[in-house]
Symmetry: C2
Subunit: 292 residues, 2 copies
């Protein structure tokens, strides 16, 4: 307990202060955070507001100020002209790159004085601390596959498969998993969210007395390494077991090496192909019920 308190004080205040100073570089911290959060691709003002949890009036003023400095432009969103969309100007983009660089510098300054062995231990311990602290904040819920969070996850999932598969990914070629197959009574769709943002998903298709099928398992790139995949996997298994499944099976592509490693270490055994998914290279199955 005392240990935790001291950690909070030392690490939080010391690094936090440094972090802020590095990020701010002469600019009010609020502006720097907004600049950062807008991102390369631009961002709707309402999204900024919810992500940074700022008052509408305050954010508006921050944007005006950034606009006056020539760092961002704010225009109407193409789809809904009430919504305003902030984009970085070229100068803003340069500025953001600079912030990025400084953030890297800061990280490097922690690692530099250490030996390579110590560096590894530091990074490993940091990951562990983060994983355990964040784990308590992640919520996994059953949602409808047509709800916005689920659609967001699926969109990201497909985009990632398209990037990673050697052949790209075309959903119309793959075996489908339709919305009605991933909601009750045919199945379930789980979404993990952190501070209200969806960061991982997975679906189960029930097949009566046959093994249930695991589909659409995805973890956001910036949430990896937190043990979230494993947690999602066991939540899906638990959901399947609760709905009468005695086993779960799945197919996967050979490029998804981390996923394959995770399946193996979670008790999945490779089995012969049980379907003709064109993108499938490996098929796995795990029997449920031993743990309950």
């Amino acid at each position: 307990m005392a240990r935790v308190r001291r950690f909070n004080r030392t690490v939080t205040q010391r690094i936090g202060a440094l972090d802020d100073r590095y990020l701010a570089r002469g600019r009010p911290l609020g502006e720097a955070r907004v600049l950062w959060e807008i991102g390369e691709a631009g961002c709707d003002v309402r999204t900024l507001r919810s992500r940074l949890d700022l008052d509408a009036g305050y954010l508006s003023r921050l944007l005006r100020s950034l606009e006056a400095d020539g760092l961002v432009t704010v225009g109407a969103s193409p789809t809904d002209r009430r919504v305003r969309r902030a984009r970085l100007s070229r100068k803003g983009r340069r500025e953001r790159t600079e912030l990025d660089r400084r953030s890297d510098d800061l990280a490097r300054s922690f690692l530099e004085p250490l030996s390579s062995d110590e560096r590894q231990r530091l990074v490993r311990s940091m990951a562990e601390v983060e994983r355990l602290l964040v784990a308590a904040l992640v919520e996994i819920d059953v949602v409808d596959p047509d709800d916005p969070p689920a659609r967001h996850c699926l969109h990201e999932y497909f985009a990632e498969l398209d990037r990673r598969f050697d052949t790209g990914y075309d959903p119309s070629v793959a075996l489908p998993a339709l919305a009605h197959e991933m909601r009750m009574p045919a199945g379930g769709f789980l979404v993990a969210s952190l501070h209200g943002e969806p960061i991982a998903c997975g679906a189960i298709k029930l097949h009566g007395r046959e093994p249930a099928e695991l589909k659409r398992m995805w973890v956001a790139a910036d949430a990896r390494g937190l043990g979230l995949g494993r947690r999602m996997l066991s939540s899906l298994e638990a959901w399947a077991a609760d709905h009468g499944a005695h086993a779960v099976r799945l197919e996967t592509n050979r490029t998804l090496v981390e996923a394959i490693a995770m399946y193996r270490s979670s008790g999945y055994r490779e089995v012969p192909a049980f379907n003709d998914e064109p993108y499938g290279d490996h098929w796995f199955e795990k029997r449920l019920g031993t743990q309950r």
Copy 2:
């Protein structure tokens, strides 16, 4: 690198914000920090200023405000009437206890959702992160044993021995280590400091071709577990070796179990008593020079 950056963002901002809110409880954060830092025993205003790194005017105003709330009294220091000394009133003491409780609650809230195995891992990893981050910030210097930092360390060292030894500790009974024996050319006195505050010390008495003697090794209670003892020990050994010693020896009391464990694991072997230190229960020696 990315890992370190993410750790900084997540842990720092998330916990930092929580920590501040917990600590503040309706009061400006600045006031809460001052209230905390004054401590049960009271504190000179100048010390507060340097510890919290606040502007003199600003701190003065904060104290006025705490005084107006009846939490603090500020009076002249007994030794130097320019210096002002802040003390907690009864109400202030209650308030500080409350802050203490909340800080505990916060720490508990991190641990609570975890299994006991996870808790252990979290605490261990936090200690590791802190140790490695702080290690880079600690400076070990050779100082004169009569300098204020050295005197502070020695004072704390004796107070601790007095608390821990079954018989209490009376410096006039023990074998002495006089200031001139711990400065060149007879010996050396090392102090480790973090942000300018001394947090550990140790001394070497040289004996020509005979083994050097290690004395006065101490680590501040709130800096333990950071690997500082081991670091101080190897700095002392290095200093001794640099000044011609081929071996180091020391005596210690049986109640100092962590120290004894550290000596053993650092390559010290127990040897027969080489002096008649009345508080000595164990005598150790280590040959130097193999590592250089």
